[in-house]
């Protein structure tokens, strides 16, 4: 298995109306934190964007630091009075959110 290509998280952004969606593909782990942060910081600063969605359909693995990054994002979104959705979590992401009790904190659909 070529770990170099399999461990990288690919991040891309789509915007529709007032919603910015950050699509994550691959392994969502600590290595991705800088790129993940810069992906959402620009959207938080944009007054036209009121909703942030994180598309987790392509997440093949996530660890506790990924949960940590989502918690940090949640704080920042609340500070800007915007809304946050975790959308289409992959099976493994959904299971991790379930174990971590994230449905109490996040809008997941």
């Amino acid at each position: 298995m070529n770990t170099a290509t399999n461990t990288k998280l690919h991040i891309h952004l789509t915007r529709l109306g007032d919603t910015a969606t950050i699509h994550l593909n691959g392994q969502f782990v600590f290595d991705a934190h800088r790129e993940f942060k810069s992906a959402y910081m620009n959207q938080l600063a944009d007054p036209e964007i009121t909703r942030i969605a994180i598309d987790l359909a392509g997440v093949r693995y996530l660890d506790s630091s990924a949960l940590g990054m989502l918690l940090v994002l949640r704080d920042r979104v609340l500070d800007c009075s915007k809304s946050l959705t975790l959308s289409q979590p992959s099976t493994i992401a959904a299971r991790t959110f379930e174990i971590a009790g994230f449905k109490e904190l996040f809008h997941i659909h």
């Binding site: 298995m1 399999n6 600590f30 693995y61 660890d63 506790s64 630091s65 949960l67 940590g68 990054m69 918690l71 940090v72 704080d75 991790t96 379930e98 174990i99 971590a100 009790g101 994230f102 109490e104 904190l105």
Partner: protein, 371 residues
Amino acid sequence: MKILLALTDATDLDMVRAVLLAEGHDPCTAHDGQAVLTAMQEKPDMVIMDAELTGISGYECCRQIKHNDKNKHKPVVLLMPTQGTTAWARFSDCGADDFIELPLLPHIIKAKVKLLLHISELYHRLDASHRHAEQEIRLAKHMFDSITKRQPQEVDFLHFWGLSAGHFCGDLFIFERTPEHHLHVFLGDFTGHGLAAAMGALPVSDIFFAMTRNGEPLEEIIAAINHKLYDIMPTGKFCAAVFMRLEADYSRLEFWNGGLPPILLVDRQHKIAGNFESAHLPLGIVDPAEFALATGSVELSGIHSVVLCSDGLIEAQNAVGECYGEERLAQALTRNSKDSCPFNRVKSSALHFLEGLEPHDDVSLAVININ
């Protein structure tokens, strides 16, 4: 910078020396290969020498210089005389950092020296920061080991196995008896490894031991630890944990699972008789005022053992990228085997699965045998 020069051609030597002096360096010279090796004791910052030195050749000098670990990042430059393929093969085998082709030109000497000293400086900085990080890891390991060594006694029916993803396993497993002899058990998995885990483990274990020895109920202890971690940890850092209280007569188990894989009960027929999923957020995330405390409770009649693990076990990957998974864990627990202890069965199943690979997250497994 002190730069050692070994050049056979006197005109070249004068030119290079003049260039280095003009750049503010401190050139010194050696007339042959043996003299170069002797002059290394003076610890030059860089070496520039002819590849074809008399006596010991430049290639061989370079090999011997690089053989010493202290010179690993010290730039060694060979002046290459020919375009023969043998010379280049010898060059690439000897471990030199760079070459300059003859005839020598002053601006090339100047540029190469500047570049190589810059790279060497970066290596030294990286080395220093690496050493610093290792010191911190040693400190963290020391603190973490001290915490687990504070365990007052061994409990013979309680087994723990930790396999670290790095220098040491950052999952915290501690237990203590209340004055009434109930057994309190804690398994915690902190975000991150190393120092981050050790920093969190300190207050958790302080509160856990003190309150248990005071005979305080499990819910109070969980609330106090969540409160402390909520106060001190930044957003995004938390601790997935299980708390358990085993009654002194082993009749009943009280439990709380916030973010760890299910607590499993295995009965005497090797069947899974209970599965208690995480029902709470991990410690340190929510405000104490909104924190859900309610513990669960179960009778233990007919139960052989209680099994806890961190997600590092469930998510451990083998060489082909498969996860160990909850199913393999359940199979190992329920499989008919000569070994009647579920702890041994799971441990050997996980080790067999990993085939010597280091897990990417700390793996921990705790089993309490009820007898």
